[in-house]
């Protein structure tokens, strides 16, 4: 039982922090990027690839670095700290994770190799928009029809991993971004991100792996993504809290700094308590994913449930304790609240995950975290 990072992990964190700190030294720099298409910086994406971040979780045979959830969590947290708009968790953990779980050796080497090298912006299209995607045809080559929305950064994808209902259950397919019969309608999201509606109309696709239901693999990948996103939220919350504390020390009203007022400093103390409790749970969830994957889905729900509550607490209070300046687009802290709101509502919000936990509350007596 150990919650400390070893020196290699710290070195990775410092490298990623250095890279992203240079790319987005201020909130304005980030805003410059999110205000132009495709909504993230292709050069930064390339640099993340050069650093090896995009291939971290994939095996060396697949062109990756063979690292684990702890390393991925480090990158996600750094992404969160500067609100980097690059679709890291979407691409590496979700889409890449699906290919790693379902793809043939050949598909993995090709798709993940190019993803790791920064040559393939691979994105997942999992959420149905009310027109479920169906597949026709057998074997490797099929066509897909239906729609997916919202697909994060879907308009920019070089390749999509699309889920579709078949006779065997849910299967996964690769669709090229420029495939025939594919219509992508991109739009901005409130947090500076991008999403798209993806319409498939007899669109050619390639099945990932052999025929067969992939529901279990999808659930495993979703759990890993929820945990990685929770780290992204931790990074964002930590900075939002830090900025708020700094503001209380420097902002003066009534001739004195705001930290003279106990009504405000006590609220900051409560934010710190929330933050530490969330951090403990999210770090634990990553360790569960690494060492006891059979409990990963539960751990992911636990992390999402507490991060949802904490991100609302910190996000709302960060703005309130700043006052009007926290509302402005020019100042950074409100963007953190905005991003935290997006993360909360992606892959199940707090209420969804509390409901999951509630459904299994009778399955155990005392909850054992180290089992």
């Amino acid at each position: 039982m150990d919650f400390t990072y070893d020196s290699e992990t710290v070195a990775l964190r410092d490298a990623v922090r250095g890279l992203l700190g240079k790319a987005y030294p201020s909130s304005e720099d980030r805003r410059g990027t999110t205000n132009t298409e495709p909504g993230f910086d292709e050069k930064v994406w390339g640099r993340l690839a050069e650093l090896g971040s995009l291939g971290l979780p994939f095996s060396e045979d697949d062109g990756g670095a063979g690292a684990g959830p702890v390393e991925v969590s480090i990158v996600a947290e750094e992404i969160g700290r500067v609100l980097a708009p690059e679709p890291y968790v979407e691409s590496v953990v979700l889409a890449g994770g699906l290919v790693a779980a379902a793809g043939t050796a050949e598909q993995r080497a090709d798709v993940l190799g190019r993803l790791s090298a920064g040559e393939n912006v691979l994105l997942p299209a999992l959420l149905d928009s009310g027109q479920p995607v169906s597949a026709s045809g057998e074997g490797e080559s099929v066509t897909l029809t239906g729609a997916k929305e919202p697909v994060l950064h879907g308009a920019r994808a070089d390749q999509l991993v699309v889920s579709a209902v078949t006779d065997r259950g849910v299967e996964l397919f690769l669709v090229d971004g420029d495939a025939e019969g594919l219509t992508r309608t991109g739009y901005r999201t409130f947090d500076g991100g991008r999403a798209a509606r993806i319409e498939l109309d007899g669109t050619p696709a390639v099945r990932l792996g052999e025929q067969g239901d992939r529901s279990a693999a999808i659930d495993e990948v979703l759990a890993a993504a929820r945990i990685a996103y929770s780290h992204e939220a931790l990074g964002a919350m930590e900075v939002a809290l830090g900025q708020t504390v700094e503001y209380l020390k420097t902002r003066k009203q009534f001739g004195v700094p705001l930290n003279t007022f106990q009504a405000l400093t006590f609220r900051a103390a409560d934010l710190y308590v929330s933050m530490e409790l969330a951090r403990s749970t999210v770090m634990w969830a990553t360790l569960v994913l690494a060492d006891a994957p059979e409990r990963a889905a539960e751990a992911a729900s636990r992390a999402k449930a507490i991060v949802s509550r904490t991100s609302r607490h910190i996000g709302q209070e960060a703005i309130q304790l700043h006052g009007g300046i926290g509302m402005t687009a020019e100042y950074s802290v409100g963007h953190y609240t905005s991003r935290l709101t997006a993360l909360d509502h992606w892959l199940g919000d707090g209420a969804d995950h509390r409901a999951v936990l509630a459904a299994s509350v009778r399955d155990h007596g005392v909850l054992e975290p180290l089992a």
Binding site: M1, T4, V245, N259, F266, A268, A269, D291, V366, L367
Partner: protein, 383 residues
């Protein structure tokens, strides 16, 4: 980063669990597990059973009965006791005055008190708070005036928990009224049978007699009962309170209460509103436990991690939330606290409200939760 306990720590935990659940006096555990009240004899028997196994004062120096355990092992020992329903050693002895005497007392004082303190042959009471010195403890006014080989003590202490059982009381007294308030305080050990010392019960809202007032009228105390140096009492008190704070996040007990509450709720957990409430409490408690593990892993010897204030603050909030859950589960049975034999009220429901009321104390003692917020905002956040 790793999830699992090392083989050594896992073995340690199993040994603790084995002793607590199979070789510790069963009748005491049964009482604790039923959330009943322990008598003085129960508490003494319990501590002596632990002490016989070297498990009463592991946090003390080895020469006085301590064990050379890691912080994690101490945490596991503490958790396993609570989960098994073994009463934790009397805090006044084991985690308050014992470590202070071991760290600051003379050799003579150590030999005189420490073995009996570990074995609960002496029952210690705490004489810190006064009617006008609560959170602002340093403003205490009980005086000790040197007169030859003795101190003459006058004043009043309050909130003395289980003072009715006390043999000795460790007190903070003012020995120099002319300096900054923290600089004029000393720590004196006082035999509670000394003439001029009286203990009066304070009845609490749960109907119980747990705390007392202690009055000192010209109580003559041998000067050799001064701990360490005169006017250094505040330093010793801070040392003591730092230790107290670590032990006041009773994660194991709260976990057990919550698991038992699920049993009590039974089929009613099919109600999603109730299930949601329990699931959320369980998740918050998990976060607390994991934070405790993080703090344990990062604590330098004898120096609590600053985040230990988080444990006290959140630990007592969750403890209170679970006592509140019991009252809600009891429904109308929550009123049946006085029910005797022949009543249909379940045992857990009878104690639910007195316990709920009693545990309002948790966010007040050991440095109120407002004091903890002050520590967090000041010491940790620099506000």
């Amino acid at each position: 980063m790793k999830l699992r306990l090392s083989d050594e720590d896992a073995r340690f935990r199993d040994e603790m669990r084995e002793f607590f659940t199979t070789r510790f006096p069963e009748h005491i555990r049964a009482k604790v597990l039923a959330r009943g009240e322990l008598t003085k004899d129960d508490i003494v028997e319990s501590q002596q059973a632990l002490n016989a196994e070297g498990l009463a004062v592991p946090n003390w120096p080895v020469e006085w009965g301590g064990r050379d355990w890691t912080q994690l092992q101490r945490h596991l020992w503490h958790e396993e006791m609570q989960l098994a329903g073994v009463p934790i050693p009397l805090a006044f002895n084991a985690s308050m005055i014992g470590p202070v005497i071991a760290a600051f007392g003379s050799q003579e004082m150590k030999e005189r008190f420490l073995p009996k303190t570990a074995n609960l042959d002496i029952w210690w009471s705490q004489g810190f708070s006064e009617p006008d010195a609560g959170s602002d403890l340093a403003s205490l006014r009980t005086t000790a005036v040197r007169d030859g080989d003795e101190y003459v003590v006058n004043g009043q202490k309050t909130w003395t928990t289980l003072g009715q059982y006390g043999d000795w009381i460790f007190t903070l007294v003012r020995t120099d009224p002319n300096v900054k308030k923290q600089a004029g305080i000393s720590m004196l050990l006082i035999d509670m049978t000394t003439p001029g010392l009286t203990v009066r019960p304070i009845e609490l809202i749960d109907g119980g007699h747990e705390v007392n007032e202690v009055f000192f009228e010209d109580v003559r105390v041998p000067a050799e009962n001064l701990v360490g140096e005169e006017n250094k009492g505040w330093t010793y008190a801070k040392f003591l309170l730092g230790n107290e704070r670590v032990g006041v996040a009773p994660v194991g007990t709260t976990k057990r209460w919550l698991a038992d509450a699920k049993e009590a709720a039974g089929d009613r957990l099919a109600d999603p509103v109730l299930a949601n409430r329990v699931a959320e409490l369980e998740n918050e408690l998990l976060a607390l436990e994991l934070t405790a593990l993080r703090v344990v892993a990062h604590s330098a010897e004898g120096k609590p991690h600053p985040a230990s204030s988080v444990l006290k603050l959140r630990g007592t909030e969750l403890q209170q939330a679970v006592t509140e859950l019991y009252v809600d589960l009891a429904g109308p049975w929550a009123l049946a606290s006085g029910a005797g034999e022949g009543s249909s009220a379940p045992d857990w429901a009878r104690v639910s409200t007195p316990q709920y009321l009693n545990f309002r104390k948790a966010s007040i003692y050991g440095g109120s939760n407002e004091v903890q917020r002050q520590i967090i905002s000041g010491t940790i956040l620099g506000l």
